[in-house]
């Protein structure tokens, strides 16, 4: 066996070992499956009387340190594909994306403006109607979004004005059903594009 092979093997071994540690840590942190089933149970849990940007648990902190994020589980299996195929535009629902920092996630009322009449017999639409009937909004979970510890202030509007395609950061939604994180919004991802487009890569352009 050659020397380089040995080195490679050792590297692999270390990687596997580290991976195991992370796996064990994340298993320890496994939350109960209750969270993964939507809709979440409607108990009256009193959350902490204090707000702090701290992590809830040490495990949370460790997980964030290694950059692992939980997969969002949506209460309703909304399909972007179908809606876009029907000729809708992103901005029809995600209003405000061209005007301000954030895009709106439509409320149950907004969805029901169409689904009052359209496809009312489908099970997912029935779920939707049930939310409306209970007077509740849909507890959508965030798919993207920066971690608070990234201290990033992203503003959609200038990007839309600059002609950045939605798909560039969010993937091709015409092929997606329930939205999943297709693009990793790492700093490298942002900076690369900023460099290519010759726009500011000053830290304070995003971090403040």
């Amino acid at each position: 066996m050659s020397r380089s092979n040995l080195g490679l093997k050792r590297c692999l071994r270390v990687t596997v070992f580290l991976g195991m540690i992370i796996l064990v840590l994340s298993l320890l942190d496994r939350t109960s499956p209750a969270q993964d089933t939507a809709p979440p149970p409607q108990t009256m849990t009193q959350s902490s009387p204090i707000f702090t940007p701290a992590h809830r648990t040490v495990m949370d902190a460790v997980r964030e340190f290694f950059g692992s994020r939980q997969k969002p589980v949506q209460p309703i299996a909304y399909t972007h594909k179908v809606h876009l195929a029907n000729g809708m535009q992103c901005t029809d629902c995600h209003v405000g994306v061209d005007r301000g920092p954030d895009a709106r996630i439509p409320s149950v009322n907004f969805c029901m403006t169409c689904h009052q009449v359209i496809a009312t017999d489908k099970p997912e639409i029935k779920k939707l109607a049930a939310y409306r009937a209970r007077g509740e909004d849909i507890p959508w979970q965030r798919v993207y979004g920066f971690l608070p510890s990234a201290h990033v202030k992203f503003n959609h509007a200038p990007h839309i004005r600059a002609g950045v395609d939605c798909a560039q950061c969010h993937g091709d939604m015409t092929k997606q059903t329930v939205a999943v994180r297709m693009v990793d919004h790492t700093m490298g991802f942002c900076v690369q594009c900023h460099r290519e487009k010759n726009v500011s890569v000053d830290c304070v352009a995003c971090h403040y």
């Binding site: 209750a34 969270q35 979440p40 959350s47 301000g100 409320s107």
Partner: protein, 760 residues
């Protein structure tokens, strides 16, 4: 274990417990359908009015979408709603000019305070224990109604008392209308810093029962007798804007500012010349200045008109007030007096102000009249650069029952307490709104004991404070940002101002606006009460009241009533187009010209060697803002003290008594004693000790309770001889060193060199 650690641990264990069950507890909460369609991340600006002091500044509220944990229909959930994020002055508003003072900035924390009363409460423990149980609004209204109707049927409506903070505008109309229609006792409007003596003096001198609007931006010379006009007195924001203009905002020379007081106030700190005078001698000082002006023919006696004629000896040129004769009395060299008088006369327009401190002596009324006369002889009354009385808009809601009540000072609470002590049955139901007299009156008045004798107290308070804790029933009011608001300030602008603001946000908690509760009560009481208050809601009443302004020339022009209403709402009110001041009628004509009497002090100088000077805190104001963390943690501008109180004394005094910075000392008057840390600062006369009002709450949220001491509590029940107001600067005290202690200060050093290094 410290509170902080406890909170941390409980938060940690709570979080762990929640995690074991079901991950992120926020996801557990149901989400209510947003009632408001706002775009996330985009700010909208809504007008509002600052209600934290009587100045009545117009504000703009920056509202952004956020997620609030709220209870709706008994269920806790998350609601996407518009949340106020920042308060700024309204640039269009003629009082705030787009600026806001530190207290106004902190108004946000009133709304978001963790200890706000979130739902109606009924007392469940002994009175004053602070034990309450949550009830529904229906139950609460039923309880209150039953008490009111019981008195109605037994024809004892006169035994219903109504105690409020100073009211203006339509809120006043409704409260007074309610009381009048119910045939209850006239409402008592209580505030510690009510400036009642000055208002009364202005009525005598100038015929206007109001605080003056000070046109500082045109003044060239300003003599302020203890007026903290840049901090807490009258309309601080408007005055600060004018002051900035006077100092350096205009071409030509900046004006000079002379402050006369025995302890450097936050305002006095900015003065070009600070003149310490003997407490209670401000009137003599003012007349001594007038004497110089008259004797040196820098002004004529006649020019002072009625304001001068009120003063005994005025037409003779005030012979008793020659500087040389009074310099000992005032404690100011005669040369200084003459110089100031000459400077003032030579730098017209010159203006003199009198603040609450000098008016809070037994001769305070005379002091105020004397300063008024000085102003008159300086020719600054009703003129640019002087003091102006602006016309106040009295809302005409078209209802005869809604009479404007007479202004009353804090003395009426004393009367009320005396009345209850004399005949315990005289007040059977007491309604309290905003006022906290149990905190803000001397113990010697025995207000708490009196209130404890009242069979039923209902409070509209948003917080459990020293007065509300005595209540049997609490019907929590909205926070100002959640309410409709209107205001017609009496000073601060030369324009007539009628401020109006719709709610800037939906209510966070299960609260109701007090005027709406009263209207609802009136409706349910029926009969003449319902007839006197015919409006369905508070905003109905406002709309009707404001419609009368449409015809007048002002900041809003509109084609029809609805258009006018919309525009007024958007602008945050209506103000007149032109600067106008009320034509000054001759004031009250007394039987005889007013003569000075030496100020009286409680306690003999031998036994109680120090004058005790309480003063309004720049941040906690009269104590009503001590519950806001921002106010507690912002360093006081002069002492830099945070989260506490202090007793200020001269280094010479401290040296004599062997007191070091931060030592705990006891301050005792004939009527009580308190303990607080000493603050040694040079800006105070050696025979005076001063203490900020604001701390010393026994029962006022987690941030203010049990913190510091309340100087009001040990005050002697001295009264101003002319108006009957509390002479809160007329107490003498003694001090004794108790132990070493500490004081939390942000600034490490009082001077630009440490005393430790002085010897080099």
């Amino acid at each position: 274990m410290e509170r902080r650690d406890f909170l941390k641990i409980s938060a940690a264990t709570g979080a762990v417990a929640a995690l074991e069950g079901c991950g992120n507890p926020d996801h557990q909460l149901i989400r209510f359908v947003p009632e408001e369609d706002m775009l996330p991340g985009l700010a909208t600006w809504k007008p509002s009015i600052c209600t934290l002091c009587p100045a009545g500044c117009g504000m703009l509220v920056r509202v952004m979408q956020g997620e609030a944990e709220v209870v709706r229909n008994g269920q806790l959930g998350i609601l996407k709603m518009g949340l106020p994020k920042k308060l700024e002055g309204n640039p269009a508003h003629p009082i705030s000019h787009g600026r806001l003072c530190p207290r106004g900035q902190a108004g946000l924390q009133v709304t978001y305070h963790p200890d706000r009363i979130k739902t109606p409460l009924a007392r469940s423990g002994p009175r004053g224990s602070g034990q309450f149980q949550e009830i529904t609004w229906d139950e609460a209204m039923k309880q209150l109604l039953s008490h009111l109707t019981a008195l109605q049927t037994s024809n004892e409506q006169g035994k219903i008392g109504f105690l409020t903070s100073p009211l203006r505008g339509q809120r006043k109309t409704i409260v007074h209308g309610f009381a009048a229609a119910l045939k209850a006792a006239p409402p008592i409007e209580f505030a510690f810093l009510a400036s009642r003596t000055i208002q009364e003096a202005n009525a005598w001198s100038f015929g206007s029962d109001a605080l003056p609007t000070v046109d500082l931006s045109h003044s060239n010379y300003l003599i302020s007798f203890g007026a903290d006009f840049l901090g807490t007195w009258n309309s601080p924001v408007a005055q600060s804007v004018g002051y900035g203009h006077m100092r350096n905002g205009r071409t030509g020379q900046p004006g000079k500012f002379v402050q006369v007081e025995s302890r450097i106030s936050q305002t006095g700190a900015s003065a070009d010349e600070w003149i310490p005078s003997q407490p209670g001698m401000d009137g003599v000082f003012a007349l001594s200045l007038a004497h110089v002006i008259l004797s040196e023919k820098l002004g004529t006696a006649g020019a002072a008109g009625h304001a001068g004629a009120l003063i005994a000896g005025w037409s003779e040129g005030l012979p008793d007030y020659a500087p040389a004769a009074v310099e000992k009395q005032i404690g100011v060299p005669a040369a200084t007096i003459s110089r100031i008088a000459r400077e003032a006369a030579a730098n017209a327009p010159a203006v003199a102000l009198i603040g609450d401190g000098p008016a809070a002596h037994t001769n305070g009324f005379f002091n105020a009249l004397a300063v008024n006369a000085l102003n008159a002889v300086l020719g600054s009354v009703g003129k640019p650069g002087g003091i102006v009385f602006s016309p106040v808009w009295t809302s005409q809601s078209g209802k005869p029952g809604a009479a404007e009540g007479k202004k009353d000072g804090e003395s009426s609470v004393r009367t009320l307490a005396e009345q209850i002590h004399a005949t315990p049955d005289s007040v059977k139901v007491l309604l309290v709104d905003g006022a906290n007299p149990v905190f803000a009156t001397p113990m010697a008045w025995r207000v708490r004991e009196a209130f404890e004798k009242v069979p039923f107290i209902a409070s509209f308070g948003s917080f459990i404070d020293e007065t509300t804790v005595l209540a049997d029933l609490i019907l929590p009011d909205h926070s100002p940002l959640e309410s409709w608001l209107d205001d017609s300030p009496e000073s601060g602008s030369t324009k007539t101002v009628a401020s109006l603001a719709p709610p800037a946000m939906q209510p966070l908690h299960n609260t109701r606006s007090m005027p709406d509760v009263l209207l609802d009560l009136a409706h349910q009481l029926g009969g003449p009460v319902a007839a006197a208050l015919p409006w369905k809601t508070y905003d109905d009443a406002l709309k009707i009241a404001f419609s009368s302004l449409q015809k007048q020339k002002g900041s809003v022009s509109a084609t029809d009533a609805d258009d006018f209403w919309t525009k007024v709402k958007d602008q945050g009110g209506w103000w007149s187009a032109e600067d106008k001041s009320v034509s000054l009628a001759a004031g009250k004509i007394p039987a005889a010209a007013v003569k000075n009497t030496a100020p009286q002090f409680d306690g003999s100088p031998d036994q109680f060697p120090f004058h005790f000077l309480p003063f309004a805190s720049q941040l906690c104001y009269d104590g009503s803002l001590a519950h806001l963390p921002w106010m507690q943690e912002s360093p006081d501008p002069l002492s830099t003290v945070m989260w506490g109180t202090w007793v200020e004394m001269n280094p010479r005094t401290a040296e004599k008594l062997a007191i070091k910075q931060g030592d705990t000392i006891e301050v005792a008057s004939q009527h009580g004693s308190l303990r607080a840390p000493a603050l040694i600062a040079p800006g105070i006369a050696p025979d005076v000790i001063a203490m900020p009002i604001g701390q010393g709450h026994t029962n006022f949220t987690r941030y203010a309770s049990g913190r510091g001491a309340n100087p009001i509590s040990i005050l002697a029940p001295m009264v101003e001889s002319g108006t009957g107001s509390l002479a809160w600067a007329a107490t003498r005290v003694k001090i004794s060193h108790i132990s070493e202690g500490k004081i939390v200060m942000f600034g490490a050093s009082l001077t630009d060199a440490s005393p430790e290094l002085k010897h080099r």
